[in-house]
Symmetry: C2
Subunit: 390 residues, 2 copies
C-alpha cells in the first residue's frame, strides 16, 4: 500500500463525494418501509433527469453488465437477428451476451481506437434486417465516444431498436435518448454518477417495453416488467442495495444541482486539460484529440516500454491509480479517467504521476510541463465558458 493520499483516476470506479459517503453511512433501513420508499421515489425521478427521458428507468442491484444483459434478455427471443457494433472491449461484451442468448448476431467490428461510422451501420442494416442494434457510447477501453445519435437515426430508419451502453459516460457527455430516439440506455452507479459500484440502470422506451412483452428469452431477476410494476409503487421486486440507493440519491442531487449541461461541460474541460498535458509532455494520445473524448484519456505507450509498469509506478510512486489497456491493448496504453467527483487538481496530480513514471522508464520527459499545460488549458477554456478556472 502506498503512503500517499491516493487518487482514484480510473474510468470507474471513481471517487465518492463526502456527502454521498455520509448518506451511505446512515443506518440501514427496511426496504419495505415508507422511509425507503421516499428515497427510492426521489432516486427514480432523478434518474429520469439524468437519463433525459420521460420514460421509465429500471433500477437493478447489479454491475452495469447486468443491465446490459437485461437489454438482451428482455428485448429478444432465441434466434432473433441483431446487429452488434463494437470498437473495443465493452462492445465485444454485447456480442458475448447476445450469443449467450442464442441470438443471430451480425457483428460490425470497428478497429479499436476508431469510432463506428453510422453509414456503415446503415449498410449492414440494409444488407440484413436486425431487430435491435447494440452499441457503446463511450468505449472505456479506448477513450472513443461514438456518435450514437447518428447510429440511432440509421437504426430507426431500418426499423430496428437502438440500445446504448452508456455505463461509463452517462452524466459526463451529452446524451438525449428521447430526442435522439434511443430505446434503451444502460448505465451504472460507479462512473459519472459518483456512487460506489453495485447499482445499474436501463431506461426503457415505449417501443422497448412493447418488444419486451413478446420476447421469450428467460429472465427473472433482470425482468423489466416485474421491476416496473414494483417501481410504480416506489418499491423494488427484490431487496435492493439500500445503502447504495441512499448514496445515489445524494449523488444525483449533486449532479443535477447546476443542470446536467454544467456536468457535461466540466468533463469536457477536464478532457481538454488532460489532453493538453499529455501533448505538452511529448507523449502520444491513443484516444482522439477531440472534445468528444471527455470520459477517459488513453496515452500510447512507446515500443519498448511496458504499460503495466507505468501504471504500477504511478500507483507506487505517486499514489495515483490509473488503468492499463484491456484486451488487445494490454500493456500498450495507460488510461486516465476524468469523470465523476474529479477536478483539475486531480488531473494535474495524475499527469505529474504519469510524467514521473515515464521519466523513470527512460523517456525524455521534462517534469512539471504536463500539469502546467493542463491547468493553462483548463483556465483558458473555463474563462471562455465564463466559469472560474482551477
Amino acid at each position: 500500500m502506498t503512503s500517499s493520499k491516493g487518487y482514484l483516476m480510473t474510468p470507474g470506479p471513481t471517487p465518492i463525494p463526502p456527502a454521498v459517503e455520509a448518506a451511505m453511512a446512515l443506518p440501514v433501513i427496511y426496504h419495505r418501509g415508507a422511509e425507503f420508499q421516499e428515497v427510492l421515489a426521489r432516486v427514480l425521478a432523478r434518474l429520469r433527469g439524468v437519463f433525459r427521458t420521460s420514460g421509465d428507468v429500471v433500477l437493478f442491484t447489479a454491475s452495469g453488465s447486468g443491465a446490459m444483459e437485461s437489454a438482451v434478455a428482455n428485448l429478444c427471443s432465441p434466434g432473433d437477428p441483431v446487429l452488434v457494433v463494437s470498437a473495443g472491449n465493452f462492445g465485444e461484451r454485447w456480442a458475448q451476451i447476445a450469443r449467450s442468448y442464442g441470438l443471430d448476431v451480425d457483428h460490425l467490428r470497428v478497429p479499436w481506437g476508431e469510432a463506428p461510422d453510422p453509414d456503415a451501420v446503415a449498410e449492414r442494416l440494409a444488407g440484413r434486417r436486425s431487430r435491435v442494434v447494440y452499441c457503446t457510447h463511450s468505449e472505456t477501453s479506448t477513450g472513443v465516444v461514438a456518435d450514437v445519435e447518428a447510429i440511432a437515426a440509421r437504426a430507426r430508419a431500418a426499423g430496428a431498436l437502438t440500445v446504448v451502453d452508456a455505463i461509463s459516460c452517462l452524466g459526463a457527455v451529452p446524451l438525449e435518448p428521447d430526442a435522439w430516439g434511443i430505446d434503451v440506455v444502460v448505465s451504472g452507479s460507479q462512473k459519472a454518477l459518483m456512487t460506489p459500484p453495485g447499482l445499474a440502470f436501463a431506461s426503457v422506451s415505449e417501443a422497448a417495453r412493447a418488444a419486451a412483452a413478446v420476447a421469450t428469452s428467460p429472465r427473472f431477476y433482470l425482468d423489466w416488467e416485474r421491476a416496473l410494476r414494483s417501481q410504480v409503487e416506489a418499491r423494488t421486486p427484490f431487496t435492493p442495495a439500500v445503502s447504495l440507493v441512499r448514496g445515489l440519491d445524494v449523488a444525483l442531487e449533486l449532479l443535477l444541482a447546476d443542470g446536467l449541461e454544467a456536468a457535461w461541460e466540466r468533463s469536457r474541460l477536464l478532457g481538454r486539460a488532460c489532453r493538453a498535458g499529455v501533448r505538452a509532455a511529448g507523449l502520444e494520445l491513443f484516444s482522439p484529440d477531440h472534445d468528444s473524448s471527455a470520459v477517459v484519456t488513453a496515452i500510447r505507450v512507446p515500443d519498448g516500454v511496458d504499460g503495466a509498469a507505468i501504471v504500477r509506478s504511478m500507483r507506487e510512486r505517486s499514489g495515483v491509480t490509473a488503468a492499463g489497456g484491456q484486451g488487445e491493448l494490454k500493456g500498450r496504453i495507460v488510461r486516465i479517467g476524468h469523470i465523476g467527483y474529479v477536478d483539475i487538481d486531480d488531473v494535474a496530480a495524475a499527469l505529474d504521476a504519469l510524467e514521473l513514471a515515464f521519466a523513470e522508464a527512460g523517456s525524455a520527459v521534462e517534469r512539471g510541463v504536463a500539469a502546467r499545460s493542463a491547468r493553462a488549458a483548463h483556465d483558458a477554456a473555463a474563462a471562455r465558458a465564463g466559469r472560474p478556472g482551477s
Copy 2:
C-alpha cells in the same frame, strides 16, 4: 420519521456492526488492483468457512434472488424436470424462477407455517424423476426452518441434486452442505452476514459444476463458470460492489471469530428468548415454538386486529421496525427477526414495542412482562450453556 433511536428488527436487512460500517466508509478502490484482490481473496476464503464447504462459493453483486436464479439458469436446460418444495413466500419464488426458465416443475406445496416432510419429498421423487430439488432452509415468511439435511438425503437417494435457499439463515442456524450432501446453497449479505444488501452467493459442489457444464439455459451475468474462472485469480468478471465487499470482509471475520457454532448458539438463544416473551405476554406464536426457529419469530394477530397497524404502531411509537405478513399471511402475523448484529436488549426493545402496540389495539396485555420473560429465558439458557447472560 420517528425521533426514537431506531431498532431494525426485520428478518433482513439487519443492523450493521460499527466495524463493518467503518470498512465500507473507506475510499473506493479499483476493483482490478492488488489491494482489492487481497480483500476479495480473503472474503472468498471466509465465505467457504461460513458455507462450511471445501468447494467454491460464487460471489454476485445482486440481491439473493439473483443467486437463486443462478441455481436455475446454471443447472437446468429448458424442459428439465425439477421438484420445488415450498411452504411460504420464498419457496414460491423457486417455482416462479423455474417456470420463467421453461422447466417442467413438480411443485410440492406445504401449508404456510408447516415444515416440509422429507418423506413426502421422497414420495414425489419416486413418482417422477427430477434433476434438481429446490427448497428453502429458513422460510422467512413464516419463521419455519426446514430439515434440509433429511431432504438432501432423500434427493440424493433419488439421483437428484439439492439446492437450498439459505438467504435468511446462513450463519444463524446449523447448515453443513458438504456433510449433508447439499449441492448448492444460496445466500445474501443482508441477513445473518451483517452487511447491507447487495451481495449474493452460491456454493457450487463438484456435481453441480458438472451439471452446469451441460445445462443450456442462457446466462451471462449469473454464469457460474465465468465467475469461477475469475475468482481463481481473486477477480470478479464484472465490477463488484467494492464497498460492500470490504464491509463483508470485516463482517465475516466477526462472524467466524468465535467459531460459527457460537453464532448459531446466539441465534438459538435469542429465538428462545423471543418466544418466551411472546408467550408471557399472552400472545400466540405462529412460527414453531421450537429451537429450530432461530431466525425470525412470527406472532399471530388475533381476528379483529390489523397486523399492519401493529407493525406501524411499533415503528411510530417505539422506533422498532418489524415486518408484517407476506402473501396469504398479509395482516395476519407480525415478524421479529433476531439474526445478525442483534442482542437480547434489541429483542427486549422489540417485545416492549410489540406489547405497547397490542395494548393500544385493545388486547389485554400487561406491560413489561414480555421483555422480562425474554431476559429470564435468555439468562437461564446462557447460564446452562456456560455463557454470560444479557
